[in-house]
């Protein structure tokens, strides 16, 4: 009697095998014609074609876009203006005061993003570190707890945004709890400061499980005997943390730092659903600026959006190189 797994396997693989047989004669001819190199080209082609058309070419085109102006979508209808868009974007009397800039919205978005990145990453690292340490200690049902902290990672940003919008609205459950405790209700999504705070907290909530997992993997790779040796010496908890755990966790911590930086710079979905960039422009971030200028707003200006996205891409490339360098150093250290 074959097991159910086997039956399912057969049901899945039989048609697949048949499909493979179907194209084989054709590909055999191609192979006898072009040899192994031709086959390598054949295997690479679909992915590289899609990759080229939808990633590489747009990357190149983006630069051209950023130097053309007008409302037209296709490049041939657009007028070449050189670095004008960059000049417009960077045209500021005082870089610390968005109001003094020609494109004040861009600078507001950039400033918001900067503040967001700093606060979110700092909070993220602290929260993930504590969580990973606790998940790595001798607790019961560790995989259950890991699941608890990880589960929001898989939720879609729209769902995350809606869940929290529902909780944080004026008549939401959080205010009910505050009232119950005898506190004043807060207009979470209407007051500037609180809305910004909400955007940060919600994005930490949504992504912390991912980074905590990376840190946890790092913690679990630290040999147990180091801790035992420290215990034999009577070293205190805090000292063990600073002198053993932290240095050995450094590679993973750096990965988490850079990855979370890269992702925080691109913040869009959750915040957009949660606050829509508001109140006013309090939670307008760079990606939303690009989206609005490129597609949504009445001031539609694809060239300007492209220029802004290239500036953001520059920041991301620096961060990515940083990451590659750091992980490369980690690999070499092994």
């Amino acid at each position: 009697m074959p097991s159910p797994g086997k039956i399912v396997g057969a049901v899945v693989t039989a048609p697949l095998q048949y499909m493979g047989q179907l194209v084989d004669p054709l590909l055999r001819r191609w192979q006898s014609w072009t040899g192994l190199n031709g086959m390598a080209a054949f295997f690479l082609a679909p992915n590289m074609l899609i990759f080229g058309v939808f990633v590489l070419i747009p990357m190149g085109m983006n630069i051209v876009y950023s130097m053309t102006s007008g409302n037209a979508l296709f490049l041939k209808d657009r007028e070449f203006v050189g670095g004008t868009h960059y000049k417009t974007l960077l045209d500021c009397q005082n870089y610390f005061d968005p109001q003094s800039c020609h494109q004040d919205l861009f600078w507001i978005a950039a400033g918001n993003t900067f503040q967001f990145v700093i606060c979110q990453v700092a909070l993220m690292i602290v929260v993930c570190m504590i969580t990973a340490l606790i998940l790595n200690s001798e607790i019961r049902a560790r995989s259950f707890w890991r699941a608890v902290f990880f589960f929001p990672v898989l939720l879609s940003p729209v769902v995350v945004g809606l869940i929290w919008k529902w909780i944080l609205q004026r008549d939401g459950v959080l205010n009910a709890v505050l009232l119950d405790m005898g506190l004043e209700p807060i207009n979470w999504l209407i007051e500037r400061g609180w809305a910004f705070f909400a955007a940060i907290t919600v994005s930490v909530w949504a992504h912390m499980g991912f980074y905590a997992l990376i840190l946890l993997a790092g913690l679990q790779a630290i040999p147990k005997d180091l801790y035992e040796a420290a215990e034999m010496d009577g070293t205190r908890h805090m000292r063990v943390f600073w002198r053993i755990t932290l240095p050995l966790l450094m590679p993973n911590l750096l990965v988490v730092l850079v990855l979370s930086l890269i992702r925080a710079v691109q913040i869009f979905d959750e915040a957009f659903v949660l606050t829509g960039g508001g109140p006013g422009t309090a939670t307008m971030f760079l990606t939303q600026y690009i989206y609005e200028v490129g597609f949504a707003s009445i001031l539609k200006n694809p060239g300007l959006a492209a220029a802004a996205s290239i500036l953001m891409g520059g920041v991301l490339i620096v961060l990515t190189l940083l990451q590659l360098g750091l992980t490369g150093r980690k690999d070499r250290a092994r």
Binding site: V55, F151, L154, L162, G209, L213
Partner: protein, 349 residues
């Protein structure tokens, strides 16, 4: 409760509790509340009637008003507990004008009473408003969104698996000039997010006629560098001798890929499939840009549109949010091991 205490507590093999133990206890407890609480609150809320949702402070469980069928009236009437001079009575409401309601006693349906609404409270019992889930299925675009999302997710995942594994096969098992260039290209774009190439990508999609189509959503996402990279790493561990044995066995290169390498890569393919399903199901920014007609909206875009309406119908919106969440939660519950080891191993998301 002692079970939970045991679950939460940790012992360091010493007598008494250290501050770290208290802190662990606190953190895990708070974590449980903060991480799971919102989702549970969402599910509970999605089962409330519009009246229940507009209540403040909200009730924890969903309630429904008790109704009663009275002879001579077609519809069931809502029941209220009314405090009168004679005492407390349960009455059914006929209609309400201003602050005064016309009510009848179900026992004596002929006698009509006028009651000030301040003197009465609705009689309620725990009840689930399943209609929040059922109604949108019949009189909204929600089923279309659902269908679109399923289509995008399934198609994108299948194409991703096929094209990525073919490319990974070429990059791991053939020596050809330019192989390193291709690898570097793929690695270099590993971190280029969609938001950076939004404008030109949109123009390409438009110029090939894919604007406002589901294929326009699918195609730009399938050539994932992460997938190629992950599968290649896995395929490198398959010994070349196996391929040579197959070559001696008259297998064509395609057969080697399809019959030998793909089946042996199954574990990595499974991880990629899980990730791809989650990614594509959750995609938001790109579909938001490409799709403008309601008929082609995916769930995420549809939800956002509903949430942006002037009069948000929270009871439908919450129910649909739950439906959107369900597949991902199922994936998570059944495949948690795969996902967590996949992330810990490859650091991908």
């Amino acid at each position: 409760m002692s079970g939970l205490t045991a679950l939460l507590s940790q012992t360091r093999g010493r007598d008494g509790w250290d501050w770290t133990d208290y802190f662990t206890f606190f953190w895990l407890g708070a974590g449980l509340l903060v991480m799971f609480g919102p989702a549970i609150w969402l599910v509970l809320s999605s089962l409330k009637t519009p009246a229940g949702l507009s209540e403040f402070p909200p009730t924890f469980l969903p309630y429904k008003a008790e109704t009663i069928q009275v002879d001579g009236y077609d519809k069931p009437l809502p029941l209220y507990r009314v405090t009168t001079e004679e005492g407390v009575r349960d009455l059914a409401e006929l209609r309400r004008v201003g602050t005064v309601a016309q009510m009848i006693d179900p026992e004596q349906p002929d006698e009509r009473l006028r009651v000030n609404i301040a003197d009465r409270t609705p009689i309620r019992k725990v009840g689930f408003a399943w209609e929040n889930f059922i109604d949108p299925l019949f009189n909204s675009n929600f089923p279309t969104y659902l269908k679109n999302s399923v289509f995008v997710t399934v198609m994108a995942t299948l194409i991703t698996l096929l094209t990525n594994s073919m490319a990974a096969f070429a990059l791991s098992k053939y020596q050809f000039t330019g192989r390193n260039t291709v690898m570097i290209l793929i690695l270099a774009t590993l971190m280029v997010p969609l938001s950076v190439i939004l404008v030109p990508l949109f123009s390409i999609i438009s110029s090939v006629g894919l604007f406002d189509t589901l294929w326009g959503v699918i195609l730009p996402t399938v050539a994932t560098p992460t997938g190629v990279f992950m599968l290649r790493q896995y395929m490198l561990t398959i010994p070349d001798e196996l391929l040579e044995a197959a070559r001696m066995d008259h297998a064509s290169e395609w057969q080697i890929y399809w019959r030998i390498v793909l089946p042996l890569t199954a574990p990595a393919l499974a991880v990629l499939a899980i990730f791809s399903v989650v990614w594509r199901w959750n995609d938001f920014l790109w579909p938001l840009v490409v799709l403008s007609r309601e008929e082609v909206y995916t769930l995420q875009v549809g939800l956002n549109a509903y949430a942006g309406e002037l009069n948000v119908q929270w009871h439908f919106l919450l129910a649909m949010t739950v439906v959107t969440m369900v597949p991902v939660v199922l994936v998570f519950v059944f495949l948690q091991k795969f996902i967590t080891t996949g992330i810990a191993g490859a650091g991908l998301k």
